[in-house]
Symmetry: C3
């Protein structure tokens, strides 16, 4: 791993990180991996000329749309450290002016272009706030949380997305929610195959009379598909088929104890699952055969993540297809699958938070065979994350001094 | 003191403990003494097959009744550290299954007897959650918060109860409440003779037109009865008689300032008070001549204790006697004595908490002559407590690894 | 600086203080400067024989009026550390008795004059609570938060007030409010000239159609009047005239961006501003030509200050003048100037708090030319503050041991 950020300001006890050699970097990345792209809004949320504050990897940031294009800048005035968003004042299209003493910043480069209370100040033109690259794709606004040297470009957005997500014939719709757990407990909840146990009573399953296993008995010779090629997305694919035997009935002390909603029903659909850097799950053919559920677990701070639940459907290109998919999404997938079904995942993540809160849970957890894909993910993330996100000083993004 | 628990994880600054040589162990026992019996419920609260979560000495535990007998087990799944009680799922009489991945534990020995999501796992039968011995007596459920080597038995429950409490002709009734102070501030409030000052305006006193002194002037040659014999309960008995002169009128700067409700009324009843390990008060002949009030100050965590207020009455053996005592308890003793009168003790303890919260209060307090019985108690507890309760890792009880 | 208080208990990281050589003392004075006078109440708030609790520089104190004269004493009983104010019990005019065990203290010297529960105790007459000198002037009650050796007197109150405040022909009226920021963010908000930017939309300005500049462009050769003579109040006076050019219209990137409410109206009134130890602002001729606004920023604890807003008017000596001024104050100045106009200052201070909360803001802030008067103030305060207020042990005032 190439850690370009400040290693002097750890938020995870280095003694804990050191004990977890194979995935120390992952445990260290409590605030996420730096130098990666993260979705922060849906495109239709971002209005022209309406700066909006958000938090990403512990940093307080602003996003604004100017002449259609999105820009991201730190939300902390250089002068006395107040949040610009406490009272948003924009006196020109491309700038924001601090409500306190009139320091004015250009959204495009963060430059302190004017100070309205003192036009004679020598600070003007010689200071800048941190800015981050922004791109939009498939209806999502992505921010590159990282450092780009002058003249350089950030890595391609496609490298931080699951393969196929940007395919021309796919259309994405989704929702986002703030969740009270670290982002890794979100990612692991999604990729973990045996958490299916919490969905056994979901009305989404029983209402459709669908079969769902209680669990997945591990078979000998568990195999995963590790994607770690240069210049391609990095991720772990669990094919499911061949690794596990679905469990429809369970015993305790040798006696029947519990059976699934439709113990007779085989689990027919082939759906692979995969987890990609910097924290993106895909579940193929879910909730419908022609849809891939894509989940982004975006670090807000140590204890919260933004949960983007996106359904990417193939073969949706014509306006009437989009219209029909929107109706299907709004009336069916969002209420029943993204909310009804996934609501259980949310409280499960939040119930895990206290054990991992002080980082010692990573030492004390006792993983079992079915967690082999989580272990592969942790190692891959530790090896291929482009940097550890460190807490910014006093919550502000980095200061660029030009003088 | 035989400290069998983990001394590497202190919650009280060792420098503070070291300065208080005579009662350092007591100051260290912020979470209570380990290897002792504590009441955690009334027997009639504990229903068959309804596991109930509680906290004791900082540990998150579950208690359940199976075929009439009570069992206590840790409430933290070994796998990913979630509380089992977050969503209780029991699929056989003697077990609880973790709602997240189906790990199933036997209440009787904590054994990981099955994993419903993967019956092939090698963890099954090779891991166990911490369990603690449970006994019931006089309508109370007691948990032994301590370590018992295989084949051994815990110390007898009677050793952690005031002498006579288990006598066959006594019947106990009571209530319990959660109090916002450390357990020691509860115990000391109860045993401290001069705190009687806070009861001077109690309607329980004025309504019955009962005499109650404002305080107790200390006499020369204060004497206590120290119970520290092997194989017997350890405690300090203050006979009251001979140690103090009741104060019915007080002066300030030599002028009359305050007199008690009935300054003429002598304090007639002989009632001794005593304080026993691990934190149990008795007040004899209170609130009535034939009743002993027994108070248990049970550590929940650093800042809270469960306050068990029990009235143990002699000569109650026949059903009709029990019935009459219940009516008397419900209509008179509970509302007027346990709630009305003792409510003042509760806010007094809570008002003391902030001074002792960071443990420096133990260095800065200025005890006076009347506190001699508290000093004797602190020394006895430091010498005879069977261990210091340490905070469990991440709130979980100890893990027993069998592999 | 003569630091007579306990330097062993710093609340600001000494490494931060050391980096800020010129104004390290100021940064260290998070709880205020010790050995100075602070207003704590208006005189008409303090009733005879009604002790009232408050906090000053992190210390929990009581103030009481006895035979017309005000006294200040610690609010923490020496015995078990409870707040006397939890339940106030006074059984003689000059004393307060602790509700818990009857320890009784004399307000005039803090002496433990009696213990109502045990008149035989040898503690009586041999212990005392901390007391502080109190003086009243111009309708305010001032407490000297400092140490006075036996036989000595504290420095004169006039040394801790702006020159002229005690003049016989001036009459002071005001209000006080608790603000959620450190006291220094209050003081700097008031003295900082360019914060005028936040008042540009104030209805107090627009309703009166008054001119107010957007800011003050700094001119070459900024000059201040530093008052650091022995035996006189210590402060920094900014004459405004000559230092700045009022800004009525502002540009961004060379184009007109914003103009003040009345860009034509010159700012006519001469009003100097000044800031005095231990934290008192004056604004002359504000809100009316014959009134000086005097603001006291009194440290409550690390994160709160009591904001005294006082209007001192000249030529108010006769009862009918006082009456007219009271009516003017109540109907006009209080609602429109002290509340309407200054309300913006309050949220500005509170919005600054998080950046300075862990003290690193003092290292990371980027001051500009207009902040020259704040820099002068910080240096003056560091050089002439009479001591650093340190956090009292467990919130109690110092204990005087006489034995």
């Amino acid at each position: 791993m190439n850690d370009v950020s400040d290693a002097k300001n750890p938020i995870v006890d280095p003694a804990v990180v050191a004990q977890l050699k194979s995935w120390g970097g992952y445990v260290d990345a409590k605030l996420g991996f730096r130098n990666h792209w993260y979705p922060v809004r849906f495109s239709d949320e971002l209005e022209e000329g309406k700066p909006s504050p958000f938090q990403l990897g512990g940093e307080k940031l602003l996003i604004n749309r100017i002449d259609g294009k999105a820009y991201c800048m730190a939300d902390t005035c250089l002068h006395r450290g107040v949040p610009l968003s406490e009272k948003i004042e924009c006196y020109s299209k491309a700038t924001i002016t601090c409500w306190y003493h009139g320091w004015t910043y250009d959204f495009k480069d963060g430059n302190l272009c004017d100070i309205l209370t003192d036009p004679n100040s020598k600070m003007i033109g010689n200071r800048a706030l941190q800015t981050y690259p922004v791109e939009e794709a498939k209806g999502l606004v992505f921010v590159f949380l990282g450092d780009v040297a002058e003249g350089d470009k950030p890595p391609a957005l496609a490298l931080d997305l699951p393969p196929g997500f940007l395919d021309e014939d796919r259309y994405a719709l989704g929702i986002r929610r703030e969740i009270g757990s670290n982002w890794r407990l979100g990612a692991e909840n999604g990729f973990d195959t045996t958490h299916i146990f919490i969905h056994k009573d979901s009305t989404y399953i029983t209402a459709r009379d669908a079969p769902i296993p209680l669990g997945f008995a591990t078979l000998p010779g568990l195999e995963l598909d590790i994607h770690d090629r240069d210049d391609a997305p990095k991720g772990v694919v669990d094919p499911l088929m061949g690794n596990y035997q679905p469990v429809f009935a369970a015993e305790i002390d040798g006696k029947p104890a519990l059976s699934s909603h439709r113990p007779d029903g085989a689990h027919q659909t082939i759906f692979r699952i995969s987890l990609w850097l910097p924290g993106i799950l895909t579940v193929e053919n879910h909730p419908e055969p022609d849809i891939t559920q894509v989940e982004f677990y975006v670090p807000i701070d140590e204890r919260r993540h933004m949960y983007f639940q996106v359904l990417s459907k193939a073969g949706v290109t014509q306006p009437e297809q989009v219209q029909r998919y929107r109706e299907e999404f709004t009336s069916l997938h969002e209420p029943l699958a993204l909310r009804g079904f996934n609501d259980d995942d949310i409280w499960a993540r939040e119930a895990s938070q206290s054990f991992y809160d002080d980082d010692r849970g990573w030492l004390e957890e006792q993983l079992f065979e079915a967690d082999h894909n989580l272990i592969a993910w942790r190692k891959l993330a530790s090896d291929h994350g482009r940097g550890i996100q460190r807490p910014p000083k006093t919550g502000a993004a980095k200061v660029v001094e030009k003088l």
